[in-house]
């Protein structure tokens, strides 16, 4: 089954250098005196699916949050689709419209309907008309299979439905890259699959994705690369087959035996 999905992915030879949509180099981040990210180098090519895992507190969230400037970094550089991330609000704004993000806690806007959640950003930042924004929102709500919930409020939906709305909301901005920070960790087990299925479809459509997740089945199925972080550093980076069968790092093997339960 692994082999078949590997074929389905159609992994290609390493693409040309300028295919890179994210280029992180020598990234360092401190929270006060705490060194949260250490010398991170990471290049993500267009269409690549990357799974990031590692023990709690290893800096996974911090890394993905640096990419869309939810956290500031103190050392190194981050380039996203050709824009260098600086303190300049214009650069930050440009990058954020190119990068969508889904959070562990969904973070839907509770006072807005599902449809309004999806149309708010396109209307205010892309200056779309209400009609166009709603038509596009319905397209993406269809894609995540909840068009019938469009006029409900987030509080009326299950966790799985809320996370799918969050995905649709991000997609409405037509991002080139999607970041996921443990999108299924807050979900009841029976709802994890519906969200993962949505993410798998997104991957099939060719979306560039960085997913912090401990869903190793998902990693096997869609990841082009799996990255293992520990204590703020990337300690292992390989394709899923190698990662699961022949991890070099002892810390990685220990982690794997924990999450895979053997």
């Amino acid at each position: 089954m692994n082999d078949r999905s590997a074929q389905a992915r159609g992994r290609t030879a390493p693409a040309a250098q300028d295919d890179a949509v994210i280029r992180i180099s020598g990234l360092n981040k401190w929270y006060g005196a705490y060194h949260a990210l250490r010398d991170i180098d990471l290049t993500v090519r267009k269409g690549e699916r990357i799974v990031i895992c590692g023990p709690s507190g290893s800096g996974k969230s911090t890394l993905v949050r640096c990419i869309n400037a939810l956290e500031t970094h103190q050392g190194g550089t981050i380039d996203v689709v050709g824009t260098r991330l600086t303190d300049d609000l214009k650069d930050v704004g440009r990058i954020r419209t190119e990068v969508g993000m889904c959070f562990q806690q969904f973070n839907l806007f509770p006072h807005l309907t599902v449809l309004e959640n999806c149309t708010l950003a396109p209307r205010w930042t892309r200056r779309q008309s209400k009609r166009d924004a709603e038509a596009e929102a319905m397209h993406f709500l269809n894609k995540v299979r909840i068009p019938d919930q469009a006029n409900k409020y987030p509080g009326q939906l299950s966790g799985g439905q809320q996370q799918r709305v969050a995905i649709a909301r991000a997609l409405c901005m037509k991002p080139r890259i999607m970041l996921f920070d443990e999108p299924t960790s807050a979900l009841d087990p029976e709802m994890i699959k519906e969200v993962l299925d949505t993410m798998v479809e997104l991957a099939r459509d060719g979306m560039t994705m960085l997913c912090v997740t401990h869903e190793m089945g998902f990693a096997r199925k869609v990841a082009d690369r799996v990255i293992f972080m520990d204590a703020g550093a990337i300690v292992e980076e390989s394709d899923p087959e190698t990662f699961f069968s022949a991890a070099r790092n002892a810390r990685t093997r220990q982690f794997l035996s924990q999450v895979l339960g053997h």
Partner: protein
Amino acid sequence: MDFVSTFLNVEVILRVYPMLLKGIGNTVALASATIVGGGVAGVLICLVRLYAPKVFRGLAIAYIDLFRAIPILVLLVIIYYALPFVGIRLNAFMAATLALGLVFSSFTAEVFRAGIQAIPRGQTEAAAALGLSFPVTIWRIVLPQAFRIAIPPHTSNAVAIAKDTSLASVVAMPDLLKQATDAQALTANPSPLIAAAIMYLIVLLPAVRLVSYLEERFRNDGKAA
């Protein structure tokens, strides 16, 4: 003299009724101006208090503390009787609106600050991740949610400041209380005072009920959300 002809003298009340009506009109106008003006100013001051550069934040804190500490009557008397010495002459209505508005804005700022700070951080992070600008985030995400949290205490403050409009009678503003005491002097009968008290209650009792209703309703809402 029996009780009714002393305190509930219909003939007297009918005679001064137009005076009292004008009084309640002025009282309602004063309360409305205070609540609208002070409310809008309070929300703006709250935003300065939370998001402005450090110096302005400090000034906002000083403003809020000052006007929450000072007794309204003292403030009103200073504005009406002391400011003319520096050339600022306000009529009774303006002076009362200013005094009440300054105090109400500082209470409003505190209530909204608590409301804004109760919103989970994830809300503004999601807005930022979507590329929403700061003003849009405040206007469409933060304030609507803060408003829901702030509505019960804010309404309660509004009722309190509406009651404090009666202080304006001290600077000869023809509010309901002033009109009633004038009418009492005119007719040498306390019935206008009783009538005024009843008029206050007619306006304020439903307002107090509304506060209780909102507190109840939004408490349940909070649980559901």
